[in-house]
């Protein structure tokens, strides 16, 4: 048994541990253990790699691990729960870039391997000279390097652009311009042509070709995410997560490493499944999410609704809530932005002490990440059994006295159920409009993230409670305490 064989056996063990880890992440009672198990698998893979015979110098490795781990540690400790989607996007982008660099580094290594050739001169003396040995650079290696660069590059810039949209550094609106799709298709086609050319011409692949490929891949990532609206970012992040797995897998093919191929592919496949689950929750196809420029061209379509916005003061809202016996909170992204989850939890407790039944209805795509609202409410210590899913709460909606919509918009828009001309027609929603009274907490009169006018706000049983969600809820809490 040589070292290289032992390393490979350890890689198999790590792969098995990853499989169990992902499996356990899928169930509430074992999820935390599963995550720790998969971290153990990662530790094993990293430690045994240090014994790889290709590694001869440790300075850069140690420095890199220390720097990266510290940054990761600090980011993970300091991040607010409301900023979780951005952070996951950012981490994801780094993973993609790392895979791209691994592909690039292998190209640099493989084109700089030197060998020695010798021949006898006329006097019979042996003349030796050092030459570049390209015999390890075959068509397969060239193709996988191109793939690692392409997928890794798209994942990197796509994730960074998504991070910008999620954190509010870039506009959440889809950015559309004339000929956008044609341009994207042309770039994608160009990348394919370059990749094929590299494969065919291996081992004679110039550095210029690699640089061009890197540039085009990075550009494609930005252009692909540009036309997608902020409301669809959960789907995009999930898809990019799948891509970062595939990028790692491609890097695995480049260096012929099994654990990269298996672990990367597991992430690629499971991420794709999660993406599809989320698209189904919105009753849209993945293609529609990625290419339709959803949310940029609204208002013109969709019928004009009559009715007016009826504001309500926090004081009046308090009197209604005081008499309510059945209250449902419907949180959305606005709750995350306002960091209102702790105040909401307090209000929920006060309502319960007042004799009301309190529930929190969670739409599958509320927020900017799947399960976003669950995470926030869990952070605020909202009891688990008060969280109800859309399908369970809808049949009971007509018995609800007050539904409080906190910064949610599209997921409660009745147009999805009734208006066939609406772009979100067919998307399952939480039917808050069936409740006796609906309070909508909103910062202003503007349309939501998707840009759609929400007919719910114009309904006779709706009341608008304008202002920062946290301030509004806190003032309700204060009134309860004083009353």
């Amino acid at each position: 048994m040589n070292t290289q064989m032992l390393i490979n056996l350890a890689y198999i063990a790590a792969s098995v541990i990853f499989i169990f880890g992902i499996k356990m992440l899928g169930s509430a009672s074992t999820a935390r253990k599963g995550n720790r198990l998969s971290a153990l698998g990662m530790l094993i893979a990293v430690v045994v790699t240090l014994f790889d015979r290709q590694i001869i110098s440790y300075q850069l490795i140690i420095a890199g691990i220390i720097v990266g781990s510290l940054i990761g540690l600090v980011a993970a400790r300091l991040v607010k729960m409301t900023s979780m989607p951005e952070l996951v996007a950012l981490f994801n982008g780094f993973g993609g870039l790392a895979s791209m660099l691994v592909g690039w580094a292998e190209y640099e290594r493989i084109t700089h391997i030197t060998g020695t050739t010798g021949h006898l001169n006329e006097n019979g003396e042996l003349i030796t000279q050092t030459v570049i040995d390209l015999s390890h650079f075959d068509a397969f290696t060239a193709a996988t390097i191109a793939l690692a660069i392409l997928i890794g590059g798209v994942t990197f810039t796509g994730s960074i652009y998504a991070w910008g949209k999620l954190s509010g550094k870039l506009s959440g609106r889809p950015t559309l311009f004339k000929g956008q799709r044609a341009l994207n298709a042309a770039i994608a086609a160009l990348i394919v042509v370059f990749g094929v050319m590299m494969t065919v011409s291996a081992p004679h692949v110039g550095t210029g070709q690699i640089y061009l490929l890197i540039f085009l891949s990075l550009l494609l990532g930005i252009l692909a995410v540009m036309p997608i609206g902020g409301g669809d970012m959960p789907v995009v992040i999930s898809l990019l997560n799948s891509f970062s797995g595939l990028a790692a897998s491609a890097a695995g093919f480049v260096i012929g490493n099994n654990v990269l191929i298996v672990a990367g592919c597991l992430v690629g496949a499971s991420g794709l499944i999660l993406t599809v689950i989320m698209c189904k929750a919105m009753n849209r196809t993945l293609g529609n999410v990625l290419f339709s420029g959803f949310g940029a061209t609204v208002q013109k379509e969709g019928k004009q609704s009559d009715g007016e916005l009826k504001p309500i003061s926090a004081e009046d809202a308090y009197y209604v809530l005081e008499a309510a016996r059945n209250v449902v909170f419907v949180p959305g992204y606005g709750m995350a932005v306002a960091q209102a989850q702790h105040a909401v939890k307090e209000l929920g407790e006060l309502l319960e002490n007042n004799g009301a039944e309190v529930r929190f209805a969670i739409h599958p795509v509320a927020g900017r990440m799947p399960g976003h609202m669950n995470v926030l409410l869990a952070e605020a210590d909202v009891p688990y059994e008060q969280l109800v899913e859309m399908d369970d709460v809808n049949p009971t909606m007509s018995m609800v006295d007050v539904a409080i919509v906190i910064g949610a918009n599209d997921v409660v828009n009745p147009a999805a159920a009734e208006d066939t001309s609406s772009p979100i027609y067919g998307m399952p929603i939480i039917n808050v409009y069936e409740a006796r009274t609906v309070f909508c907490l909103k910062r202003g009169k503007g349309a939501g993230f998707s840009g759609l006018q929400n007919e719910l706000f114009l309904r006779p049983n709706s009341r608008m409670l304008y202002g920062d969600a946290k301030a509004s809820i806190t003032s309700l809490v204060t009134q309860f305490k004083e009353g």
Binding site: S27, L50, S57, E108, G371
Partner: protein, 99 residues
């Protein structure tokens, strides 16, 4: 032959990945995403090999950068997932089997 073996492994792993994630309660979607995101940081293994080459070459510096980025992804990803799941855990301890 080795090429075929690698592709064989890839295809089997893809089917396994599809089977692993079928019925996941929606509240676990975020931890699942960030947990599997940490696993995709496995590319650190490739980065280590590249960074461990004779130092000073372009290849080793690219490897170094990749190690830093992948380490952020791995360490940050696992810690953040653990933090999220820790908040769910508390609830499970009080009221077991709510799901």
């Amino acid at each position: 032959m080795e090429l075929i073996l690698l592709i064989f492994i890839f295809v089997l792993a893809a089917f396994l990945g599809f089977e692993l994630i079928s019925k996941v309660p929606s509240q676990l979607h975020t931890p699942l995403m960030s947990g599997s995101n940490a696993i995709s940081g496995i590319t650190i293994v490739g980065a280590l090999i590249a960074a461990g080459e004779t130092s000073g070459t372009l290849s080793s510096w690219l490897g170094f950068t990749a190690v830093v980025l992948a380490a952020i992804n791995v360490v940050g990803g696992y810690l953040v997932t653990d933090r999220m799941l820790g908040m769910f855990k508390k609830k499970d301890a009080n009221k077991p089997k709510a799901d």
